[in-house]
């Protein structure tokens, strides 16, 4: 089975729309000057929504940690075992869930620099993944 495809909601539609053009957006609170992940209805720092905005990110960061999934507990991505699940710390400071692709799992390490890459979803959106930078 392939990927589980994320549902979009009102809050996150701008993020997913931008993926169609391979633009990687990060939510920011301009008042707190802080990036937010996962995207929220209000900034958890000031509890206000007024100062939230989407900023285009260069999509660069480093691997915080990762696993090599051989036996997924859920029946998704079983067509590409083993795959790498990672937490990547973006230059913006947030830590995001992703996959590391375009390299052998044995080449992935904690601290490895990575950059965003894109994989197609079924409806024209793309999902951001990361590859060695």
């Amino acid at each position: 089975m392939a990927r589980f495809e994320p549902q979009t909601n009102e809050l996150t539609a701008p993020f997913w729309d931008a993926t169609k053009e391979e633009r990687y957006l990060v939510q920011w609170c301009t008042a707190c000057n802080k990036a937010i992940y996962y995207p929220r209805e209000v900034c958890p720092g000031c509890l206000l929504s007024d100062n939230l905005e989407w900023r285009e990110s260069p999509g660069r960061g480093e691997v915080y940690t990762f696993n090599v999934t051989h036996k997924p507990g859920l029946p998704f991505m079983t067509d590409r075992l083993p795959f790498v699940v990672a937490l990547v710390t973006l230059e913006e400071g947030t830590r995001v869930v992703t996959n590391i692709v375009n390299c052998d799992p044995s080449e992935v390490s904690v601290g490895m620099p990575v950059k965003v890459a894109w994989e197609d979803l079924s409806d024209g959106r793309k999902i951001p993944v990361f590859e060695p930078a």
């Binding site: 589980f4 996150t12 996962y38 940690t65 036996k71 997924p72 859920l74 998704f76 990672a86 869930v97």
Partner: protein
Amino acid sequence: MSYDPREARGKAAIVGAIDIASPTGMLDKKGRALEMQMIKGALDDAGLKVTDIDAVFSCMGMMPSMELAEYLGITPRYTDSTMTGGSSFEVHVEHATAALTLGLCDVALILYAQTPKSSKGDMGGMAGMMSMMGASPMAQWDLPYGLGTPSASYSLAAQRHMALYGTTSEQLAQIAVSTREWAMMNPNARFQEALTIDEVLSSPMVAAPLHKLDCCLVTDGAGALILTRADRAKDLRRDPVYILGTGTAHTHAMSISQMPDITTTSAAISGPKAFSMAGITHDDVDVLMTYDSFTITTLLALEDLGFCKKGEGGAFVEDGKLGPKGSFPTNTNGGGLSYTHPGMYGMFVLVEAVRQLRGESGPRQVPNAKLAVANGCGGVLSACSTVVLGTEETL
């Protein structure tokens, strides 16, 4: 006016305790029938009747404590449906201790029963799971990347611990081996055969660096506890096991990306709180019962509770000191790794701690055990709750 949790030290006690598990991993009863078996067992243990219960603690259901009390036909005056996953029962002990100390209730029931092994499919399968996840952030930000099960999240913690501190798969495997040594002395344990480090390392990789035998079981299991105030406890059937200290903290829910430091659990907060309330040091602890959903869960708890420094857990466990021949008896029932793990294992660390302090653990009894620490860890390294328990001598 100042408030000090130390005022509640020793004010409440566990006076009834029972759990059930089977070498087959399956139990005959399930649902309410299993729950009632546990309640009767715990009440009989204490020498109390169902009408004595005036506080109900449960985390299973839509309105857990209400549904349970309705089924029992009782009218509790204190109610608590706190759900923190596997550590719910330690949290319930903390809340019950506070409520009993304040006189909000007199007799508290804490209950757990789950039968995932014999009830496969009853949860509604994938469809049920997806509807449960619903609009949670996980469905949008975790699941699309294949991050959706405990093993995937815990392996992320293990990997970074290895990268930062040089922890090895052999050291993690030693935790499974030491825990199995205890299970070999527990006739109700799911796995009672000897285990070697090589067998752990050669078991199939689930999510590297965690192998199948780094992961807990999936079995049926259930348990119940009865607590009352210390003044009432003395008149009951069994020697009371006193609650000396409690502490709870949580860092995130089910999205491990939100954990501030993936190698430090909230036991680093709950542990010191509980130890401070109890007025104990690490040297006072005779038995450690700590949640072991995975080998890494035990290792992080040893560090976060302060039995060794952060990063030194691997070296701490590698001589086998957690096992029956070791100097630091840990998870003496055989743990979630080898005894039982129905999904929320925290009940069983409490029940075994009670057994050890009553001197009832048979061949796996730690001689002269007076003080035990029970540490629950719920969610995905999310919610830790620590309970310090002691015999009358420790009051």
